[in-house]
C-alpha cells in the first residue's frame, strides 16, 4: 500500500510538471500572445512596453520565466493575473473553489439519489414497459449538450415562464455564498444542480442497472432468496451494496473532473463564479498565470481522485490489485 501511495504521488508530481511545462510552451508559442503590450495598457509607447516586459520578466529565457512563475505560484503565492494586476491568482482560486464545490457536490447528491432510484425501479420493473422508457429517458439526458440545456433552462425560468407562479421565485443568475444567506444560496443553485445532474443521472442509472442484473444470478443472491428473504430486502440490502462498486468508482472519477473545473460551461451559463468560469475567462483572454493555476488545480484533483478511487475499488473488490 505504501509503495502504491508513493508511486502515485510521484506520478502526480510528474504529471503536474509535464502539464505546466506544456501549458507554458503552448502559451508562448501562440502568436500574438505577448502579454507585455496588453499589460502596458492601451497604446503604450515602445519604451513603456519594454519596461513592462522587463518588470514581468518576459524578456528572460523561457526556463527562467517558468521557474519564476512557479515560484510566485507556490512559494511566495503572489502571482498576479495578466488581465488585472490587482488580481492575485491564488486567492482568486481559493475564493472560487467553494462555488465549484457547492455546484458539484449538490449536483452529485442529486444524481446519486436519482440514478440509484431509477436503477432500482428499472430493475424491479424489468420486463414491463417501464424499463425501456426509463432507459430511453436516461439516454436523452446524456445526449444533451450541457451548455444548450442550461440556455434552454434559463430561457424558460428567467424569461418565458418567469412571471408565472412556476418560476417567479427563481432569482437572477449568480451566486450567493452559503455563509451569507443559505436560502438564497440554495435558490440560486437549484437549476444549475438539476442541469448538471441530468447529464449524469442517465449514465449512472444504466451502470447500476447493468450491475444489478449481473448480480441477480450470483450465488449469494440465490442463497438469500432460498432463505426466504423478501425480494425487496434482497435487493436493497445485499445486491445494491455489491452493485455499487462500479458506480462508486466511476462516480469518483467524474467528480474529480468536475471539481477540477470540468463544469465550466455550466458555471458560465448560470453565472456562477467558480473555478470553471475562472478558467473559461482566463482562456479567452489568454491570461497565463490564471490558466496555469487552474490547470494545476484541475489536474491535481483529477489525479488525486483517480488514485483514491483505485484504492477504494481495490478495497471493495479483492480481485483487483491497484497498480
Amino acid at each position: 500500500m505504501l509503495a502504491f501511495v508513493v508511486r502515485r504521488i510521484i506520478g502526480l508530481v510528474v504529471v503536474l510538471f509535464a502539464i505546466t511545462v506544456l501549458v507554458f510552451l503552448i502559451f508562448f508559442s501562440t502568436p500574438g500572445i505577448d502579454p507585455s503590450a496588453r499589460l502596458a495598457g492601451r497604446n503604450p509607447s515602445p519604451a513603456t512596453v519594454a519596461a513592462v516586459k522587463h518588470e514581468f520578466g518576459l524578456d528572460r529565457p523561457l526556463p527562467v520565466r517558468y521557474a519564476l512563475m512557479m515560484k510566485r505560484l507556490f512559494i511566495s503565492r503572489d502571482l498576479v493575473s495578466y488581465g488585472n494586476q490587482a488580481l492575485l491568482v491564488v486567492p482568486a482560486i481559493w475564493a472560487a473553489a467553494p462555488v465549484t464545490f457547492s455546484l458539484v457536490i449538490g449536483a452529485a447528491v442529486l444524481w446519486f439519489v436519482m440514478s440509484i432510484l431509477l436503477g432500482l425501479i428499472a430493475v424491479t420493473f424489468k420486463g414491463t414497459v417501464a424499463d425501456p422508457i426509463i432507459m430511453i429517458l436516461a439516454l436523452i439526458g446524456i445526449s444533451m449538450p450541457v451548455f444548450w440545456l442550461g440556455e434552454v433552462v434559463n430561457l424558460i425560468t428567467q424569461d418565458r415562464l418567469h412571471d408565472t407562479f412556476l418560476f417567479s421565485w427563481v432569482p437572477p443568475l449568480g451566486y450567493t455564498p452559503l455563509t451569507e444567506d443559505p436560502w438564497q444560496w440554495f435558490l440560486h443553485l437549484i437549476f444549475p444542480w438539476i442541469t448538471l445532474s441530468i447529464l449524469y443521472i442517465g449514465f449512472y442509472a444504466r451502470v447500476l442497472r447493468a450491475d444489478l442484473l449481473e448480480n441477480e444470478s450470483a450465488d449469494y443472491v440465490r442463497t438469500a432468496r432460498a432463505k426466504g428473504l423478501s425480494p425487496k430486502r434482497v435487493l436493497l440490502k445485499h445486491m445494491l451494496r455489491n452493485s455499487l462498486i462500479t458506480f462508486v468508482s466511476l462516480a469518483g472519477l467524474d467528480l474529480g473532473v468536475l471539481i477540477g473545473g470540468g463544469a465550466l460551461l455550466t458555471e458560465v451559463v448560470f453565472g456562477l463564479p467558480g473555478v470553471g468560469r475562472l478558467t473559461y475567462n482566463a482562456l479567452l483572454s489568454l491570461d497565463l498565470p490564471v490558466i496555469m493555476a487552474t490547470v494545476i488545480y484541475g489536474a491535481f484533483f483529477i489525479t488525486i481522485m483517480s488514485a483514491v478511487i483505485d484504492i477504494v475499488y481495490a478495497r471493495l473488490d479483492p480481485r483487483i490489485r491497484p497498480t
Binding site: I19, F27, L139, I142, E151, E214, R321
Partner: protein, 352 residues
C-alpha cells in the same frame, strides 16, 4: 490504474430468447449481426441516425431547390415573402424606442422555415449544412481516434514493459490536460499561421474541418486506449498466444492474427459511443468559437449564433440542440444494441 478488463468468454453465451439451434455453426460475427438485426430498438436508432446523415448530406439540395437560398451569404438587406407580403428579413425594432434589429421568426414554409439568423441567413438550410460538418467531424474524429488508440494499445499491451509505461503515462497526461486550452491554442496557431500548417497531404487552416477533427481525435485517444489495452493484456495471457510464442511466431504476426481479432470487438462496441461523445465535444468547442470556424457551420456554431437571439428568436439555438440530442441519442441506443449483440453479458464499462 485499476484495469477495467473486458472479458469475453471464449464460449458464446446465449442472448435472452435465443436457442442453441439458432447460433450453432455460425461464425461469431454472423451471430452478433443477427442479434443486432433482431434488436428492434437498436435498428430504429440506426435508422434514425441514417436518416439524419442522409438529410445532412442533402443540404445543398434543400438549400438550392427548396429554400432557394445560399445560407453562407449575408442577406442583411434582403426581403422574403411571408403570407403573400414582402417583408424585410431583418427588421428594425418598431415599437417604443425602436432599438435593435430582429431577424424574422419561423415561417414554417419553404423559405426561412425556422426563420433567419442575425446575418439574414436561412436557419433551416444552415441546420442541414451544420449537420454535415458536425457529422464529418464527429465520425471522422471517432474513427481516427479509435484507430490510433487501437494501434497504441496493441503496442502497449503486447510489448508491455517500457513501451507500456511510457504510453500509459502519456495517456494520463493527455487525459488530465485541459481540453479547452489545447483547442484554443491550436485554433489560434492555425488561424494565424499564413497558409496553414501542412501535415503531409492535409493542410490545416482555419476553414478546414481537419482542424477540429484532429484536435478532438487526440483528446479522446486515452478514452479508447484504456479498455482496449486491458483487453489486449487479457488476451495476451491466453494459452493459444503462449503457444504461438513458443512455436516461434513473430510478434507482428501474433498481434495481427491472434490478438487483433479479439480486440476489435471492443473497439466496435465503443465506436457508436465515441461518435456520440465527439459530436457533443465538437458542439461545445464550436459554441466557444474554437471548433469549426466560419464560413463552415456546425450545430455548435449555430447554437453559438443563437445565443444573442435567445430571448427573441429561440429557435435558432433550440433547433440545432434538438438535432444534436437526436443524433447522440440514436448513437447511444445503437451502441447499447451493438454491445448486447457482441456479448449479451459483456462487462465492459464505458465512461461518458
Amino acid at each position: 490504474m485499476a484495469e477495467f478488463a473486458y472479458e469475453p468468454e471464449p464460449e458464446l453465451r446465449l442472448a435472452p430468447g435465443e436457442s442453441i439451434r439458432e447460433i450453432s455453426g455460425r461464425s461469431p460475427w454472423a451471430i452478433a449481426g443477427r442479434r443486432l438485426v433482431r434488436n428492434r430498438i437498436a435498428m430504429a436508432a440506426l435508422a434514425l441516425f441514417v436518416v439524419i446523415v442522409v438529410l445532412s448530406f442533402l443540404a445543398p439540395v434543400y438549400a438550392h431547390h427548396i429554400a432557394h437560398t445560399d445560407p453562407f451569404v449575408s442577406n442583411l438587406s434582403g426581403t422574403t415573402e411571408v403570407d403573400g407580403k414582402q417583408v424585410e428579413v431583418i427588421q428594425q425594432g418598431g415599437a417604443g424606442l425602436g432599438l435593435g434589429e430582429t431577424p424574422i421568426g419561423p415561417t414554417w414554409h419553404a423559405n426561412y422555415f425556422l426563420g433567419a439568423d442575425q446575418q439574414g441567413r436561412d436557419v433551416m438550410a444552415r441546420l442541414f449544412y451544420g449537420g454535415r460538418a458536425s457529422l464529418i467531424v464527429g465520425v471522422g474524429s471517432a474513427v481516427i481516434c479509435s484507430l490510433a488508440a487501437l494501434l497504441l494499445a496493441l503496442i502497449a499491451g503486447f510489448f508491455r514493459g517500457w513501451s507500456d509505461t511510457v504510453l500509459s503515462r502519456i495517456m494520463d497526461l493527455i487525459w488530465a490536460f485541459p481540453v479547452y486550452l489545447l483547442a484554443i491554442s491550436l485554433s489560434t496557431v492555425l488561424l494565424t499561421t499564413p497558409g496553414g500548417v501542412k501535415l503531409g497531404p492535409i493542410t490545416l487552416n482555419a476553414s478546414s474541418l481537419w482542424t477540429p477533427t484532429l484536435i478532438i481525435a487526440l483528446i479522446y485517444i486515452p478514452y479508447v486506449f484504456r479498455p482496449v489495452r486491458g483487453q489486449v493484456l487479457s488476451v495476451r495471457e491466453k494459452e493459444y498466444v503462449e503457444a504461438g510464442v513458443s512455436q516461434g511466431a513473430s510478434s507482428l504476426r501474433l498481434m495481427i492474427s491472434e490478438i487483433l481479432p479479439n480486440v476489435v470487438s471492443t473497439v466496435i462496441v465503443l465506436l457508436p459511443l465515441m461518435i456520440a461523445t465527439t459530436v457533443l465535444t465538437e458542439a461545445a468547442l464550436s459554441f466557444l468559437s474554437i471548433g469549426v470556424q466560419p464560413p463552415n457551420a456546425s450545430w455548435g456554431t449555430i447554437i453559438g449564433d443563437g445565443q444573442e437571439l435567445l430571448y427573441t428568436r429561440p429557435w435558432v439555438a433550440i433547433a440545432p440542440g434538438i438535432m444534436i440530442v437526436l443524433t447522440v441519442l440514436s448513437l447511444n441506443v445503437l451502441g447499447d444494441g451493438v454491445r448486447d449483440a457482441l456479448d449479451p453479458r459483456a462487462k465492459v464499462r464505458v465512461r461518458e
